[in-house]
Symmetry: C2
């Protein structure tokens, strides 16, 4: 149940049995069916989610009802509306499941307590978000500097598993393109190969 979660933790830091028990007492398992919401825009994000199985996405919807995907999360990833989670303000993102999924939830209160009680948990959280930050900075670099084809090629290389499991029009959304443009770009790429 919590195996993947503790594997990730203990990859980076070491924990005593007592610490592991304390952490466990704050974890909330949750299953989500395909298309089910974890969070809707306007709600407060009460939980950060760790994905143990399945796939989720976070996205905004604009005035023309177009969805813009900010993040995917597969097994081993975290997902939340972090701003809403830490401030208690209404969420700007909607999060839902792309497949039947299993999550581990943690509330803000729990997270704060664990960070206070267990120094290495804070350490871990710091490493986590530091890596996430680097990944976002790379994505920004790609968004402002690459051509459509390069963006797609790089995505395949960096996250092959995402491209395999997620519908193509959602990939387009994640890259800031229309589905038609991505379809045509792929056709072009196939021809030139």
């Amino acid at each position: 149940m919590f195996d993947l979660f503790f594997k990730k933790l203990e990859d980076r830091i070491s924990l005593t049995d007592a610490e592991k028990e304390l952490i466990k007492s704050h974890l909330i398992p949750k299953k989500l069916r395909r298309r089910q919401y974890l969070l809707q825009e306007g709600e407060v994000c009460k939980y950060a989610a760790f994905v143990t199985k399945g796939a989720l996405r976070a996205y905004t919807v604009d005035e023309k009802d177009n969805e813009h995907i900010v993040q995917f999360a597969l097994e081993g990833w975290m997902i939340s509306d972090l701003y809403s989670f830490i401030t208690g303000e209404p969420a700007t993102y909607t999060i839902d499941a792309l497949e039947d999924s299993e999550l581990i939830l943690m509330s803000q209160a729990s997270r704060q307590e664990l960070m206070q009680q267990i120094p290495s948990f804070l350490q871990f959280s710091y490493f986590q978000i530091q890596n996430a930050y680097i990944a976002l900075q790379r994505r920004i670099t790609d968004l402002i500097s690459l051509s459509t084809e390069e963006k797609y090629t790089k995505l395949i290389k960096t996250y092959p598993h995402i491209v395999e499991r997620v519908p193509q029009h959602m990939i387009a959304s994640y890259l800031g393109l229309t589905p038609e443009t991505l379809s045509r770009t792929r056709k072009q790429m196939a021809k030139n190969k």
Copy 2:
């Protein structure tokens, strides 16, 4: 000299005099002239910089010699090639000064020691990068969902001080546009007002 730095720190956490002294012993002041490099692509990023005065930018250069600005840093901001800084791999970004600037540098070794010795310093670092992460996520959302005009409008609202101090063609670069496009968009906006 270190006033702004400690103000930022003590906004969030409280420090004993001994802790402050320890931190001070790891800080390296540095002045940078306009157009001077702090880091060049390919070098290892030895220091994270805190800006006490002036303005810097981090950017990549593509095959066509176009610069793509990933980040600006004004007073009170941090700037570095974080990936290179923590891994010791060659930097992918170049960092230089847009104005004569004053910085406080900290090495990776210093940062690690301070995070180990001073729990609240780790706390602080965590808050910092968490906020930086949220800002990047917002920027990605804007890049994939807004029109050119909306991107510019939002930038003015969010970072008015940046728009005032940075040449317009660099703003364009930051938004993923050509200078010509931003110039024309601004003209259009002025007309419609």
